[in-house]
């Protein structure tokens, strides 16, 4: 039994990063992190002698943490916080992955709260009375699609959303995050995702966008926030997903992207880092891990018959072990790495990464690989939008029936 876990393999110590006799601050931080993770693995190994159903996803605890957050949200006080639609999305998507239904009336309350974050000129803001911003717009649209009721869908003022997205466009086809705001690759993804989900995309809206996104691919293979910067997990997902949404994935160098992304999985820890020579962080389980289904799809479209039919091109077992053994907070919620505080952002992206690591879906092919006890299985997530597959289907059913404004 024990031998089926990578983290209990007696040879695992061979995969410490080491420092080749020349320690620097990067290698010292790396070693400290590996030490903490090794402690977790050792503790887990000892528990294996007395417990059989481990590692276990602590569903009850996570549910309690998430429901408390939701309660807090629905009180809908107005404050300076500028990421309230994000909180809605992170919590709702986490609950969705855990197959937890919202309490009576809650869906409606959240939808009404998000309606208050919508701006008269289109788009959603970080909170009521604030300026529209592409990130909360993406989050609000996702959250409303997860709620998935007619009431929720109808919150979105589609003609205004379309005008807002067009206003955020730069002449070259990139997107600024808000009026007078910064331009980076998140903008392209947030705009493309919201536009495609709600069926308001037009050709003019994304003219030149794919070319701009591709100019953010670096010599390492991943994408950067803007041309010239360093390849980074979050931005890389945004770049790839945007290209997929725009149907221009072939413009990027896919084998370089694959190499860079595959190399982000940590040989000892099993989780992903965001950039070369940086530390593992649970949230990159999705930002990096989520890129594999997209790359798999792109390669299979190109009729690559050498692709595996039952595994993504990363170590799905090792990622699940990292998430389940090192990233669960004792009091519920998931985290970056042992010792870090919990929050809804990490809870959402750790669970999303867990979903990707458990499920291979490719056309009609389905292959599930769950580490630990069977109840650890979470729902499938859509690798482009990162909401449940069912949520995408019902959103499409609703919005595709409406004409593009």
């Amino acid at each position: 039994m024990a031998s089926s876990f990578r983290c209990t393999d007696p040879c695992l110590h061979l995969f410490h990063a080491g420092d080749c006799g020349l320690p620097t601050s990067s290698s010292r931080e790396q070693k400290a992190t590996e030490d903490i993770v090794a402690n977790c693995f050792r503790y887990f190994k000892n528990c294996l002698d007395i417990e059989t159903d481990i590692p276990m996803l602590h569903r009850r605890k996570h549910e309690a943490f998430l429901m408390k957050g939701l309660q807090h949200l629905s009180e809908s006080y107005e404050c300076l916080d500028a990421s309230r639609p994000w909180l809605c999305y992170w919590i709702l998507h986490s609950l969705e992955l855990l197959s937890i239904d919202l309490p009576e009336g809650m869906a409606s309350q959240v939808a009404q709260f998000l309606a208050k974050c919508q701006c008269p000129d289109g788009g959603f803001a970080g909170g009521p009375g604030q300026l529209a911003h592409l990130a909360p717009t993406y989050a609000a649209v996702n959250a409303l699609c997860i709620i998935g009721t007619d009431e929720a869908f109808k919150v979105i003022d589609r003609p205004a959303l379309q005008r807002y997205l067009l206003r955020m466009r730069t002449p070259e086809g990139a997107f600024k995050m808000h009026e007078g705001g910064e331009v980076d690759i998140r903008g392209a993804y947030c705009a493309a995702s919201a536009a495609r989900l709600t069926n308001v995309a037009t050709k003019a809206m994304f003219d030149g966008t794919a070319e701009w996104v591709v100019s953010c691919q670096t010599y390492e293979g991943g994408f950067a926030g803007e041309p010239g910067l360093e390849a980074h997990g979050g931005y890389s997902f945004c770049g790839l997903a945007a290209l997929v949404l725009l149907g221009h994935e072939r413009l990027c160098d896919i084998s370089a992207l694959l190499r860079w992304t595959a190399n982000r999985q940590m040989a000892f820890e099993g989780g992903f880092q965001g950039r070369t020579n940086k530390l593992v962080d649970g949230c990159y389980s999705f930002w990096q891990g989520g890129a594999f289904p997209l790359m798999h799809m792109i390669l299979s479209k190109e009729k690559d018959d050498t692709l595996s039919a039952d595994s993504w091109m990363f170590h799905q077992g090792a990622l699940q072990e990292y998430l389940l053994i090192c990233c669960q907070h004792q009091g519920g919620g998931l985290i970056d790495k042992p010792g870090k505080p919990r929050d809804f952002y990490h809870t959402c992206y750790c669970l999303s990464g867990l979903s990707v690591a458990q499920h291979l879906t490719e056309g009609r092919l389905e292959h599930t690989q769950v580490t630990g006890c069977a109840s650890n299985e979470v729902k499938r997530t859509h690798p482009v939008f990162n909401i449940g597959l069912d949520s995408v289907l019902s959103a499409h059913a609703f919005f595709e029936a409406l004409p593009v404004p």
């Binding site: 995969f15 990063a17 080491g18 420092d19 080749c20 020349l22 620097t24 601050s25 990067s26 006080y77 107005e78 404050c79 300076l80 916080d81 500028a82 803001a125 970080g126 009375g129 604030q130 300026l131 911003h133 995050m177 808000h178 009026e179 007078g180 705001g181 910064e182 670096t218 010599y219 390492e220 926030g225 803007e226 010239g228 910067l229 360093e230 390849a231 980074h232 694959l258 190499r259 860079w260 595959a262 190399n263 999985q265 940590m266 040989a267 099993g270 950039r275 070369t276 020579n277 940086k278 690559d304 018959d305 050498t306 595996s308 595994s311 993504w312 091109m313 990363f314 170590h315 090792a318």
Partner: protein, 285 residues
């Protein structure tokens, strides 16, 4: 939620609704930004007031310097700085300022983003390569510094034959010191992006020497695989031998030296075999 936050927010919202362009409104944006520097609406309104009230932009730069020191990983404060520096058309503090931030966190993404903008917007490239040398001297694994090296060269001298030669030799030396440093290997690949690596003078020998010293860094093995693949692409002689060498390295990566990426290495093996082995059989039969 504390009373202070609540009062400040209510007040700010009232002022925003009235679009009040006053000194007290300006002061209020500082209070609100202090309570939540991620509130982009506050910063946006503050910029409107800066222009409208004709505020001293140098004072504003001093102010945002303080705020960034307290919140170095926040999007809004860096964007605010960029706008203010752009309005001032004076970037004399920016190189030192970003250097100071990078002293505390050498990989701060926002600081690098700001620095790159300043370099290109104000044409301040002259001392940048020296600065990067210092950073890499301090931490050869600092990938942000390697990336900046690539950026500066691509924007200045460009990767001419001489520059490529210089950079290859620089990187080889760094790899010799720390063979398992992925940043250096990635940079080497980047420098040789438009060059056939296997043909590059001395590079294969360099790899083979490391290999003969029992170095089995996955980055070394992967680099050698890529060289062999280039040779196969170029329809080299001894195809079978080259393919066998590549497949052997890939097998080593998959089963021994880099097992975390076993699926990836397996995929490369299968791809390589299906692309070249079939043709080999045909040509040998």
């Amino acid at each position: 939620i504390s009373h202070a936050v609540r009062d400040c927010y209510d007040y700010f919202r009232a002022i925003l609704r009235k679009d009040e362009r006053s000194e007290r409104a300006f002061e209020l944006t500082a209070d609100a930004a202090a309570l939540n520097p991620a509130n982009y609406t506050v910063w946006h309104f503050r910029r409107i007031l800066l222009k409208d009230l004709g505020k001293n932009l140098q004072d504003e730069l001093d102010y945002i310097t303080e705020v960034i020191h307290d919140h170095p990983k926040n999007y809004q404060v860096w964007h605010h700085r960029r706008v203010v520096v752009d309005w001032l058309r004076n970037a004399s503090d920016e190189i030192d300022f970003t250097r100071l931030i990078l002293t505390h966190d050498a990989k701060n993404y926002h600081a690098w983003q700001h620095r790159q903008w300043v370099l290109r917007e104000f044409d301040l490239w002259d001392a940048e390569l020296d600065y990067i040398d210092d950073l890499l001297e301090e931490d050869i694994r600092n990938n942000s510094a390697w990336n900046q090296r690539y950026y500066v060269i691509s924007k200045t001298s460009k990767f001419t034959d001489e520059v490529i030669a210089r950079e290859v030799s620089y990187t080889k030396e760094k790899i010799n010191n720390v063979p398992n440093n992925e940043s250096a290997w990635n940079y080497l690949r980047g420098v040789l992006l438009d060059t056939e690596m296997y043909k590059y003078s001395g590079l294969m020998t360099f790899c083979e020497e490391l290999f003969s010293q029992s170095i089995r860094s996955p980055h070394l093995l992967a680099f050698m695989v890529d060289c062999y693949q280039e040779m196969l692409n170029a329809k080299c002689e001894d195809k079978e031998e080259v393919l066998a060498k590549a497949l052997k390295l890939l097998k080593g990566l998959e089963e021994e030296y880099d097992t975390i990426r076993c699926e990836y290495w397996k995929y490369l093996s299968v791809t390589l075999s299906s692309k070249y082995a079939g043709k080999l059989e045909q040509s040998s039969s």
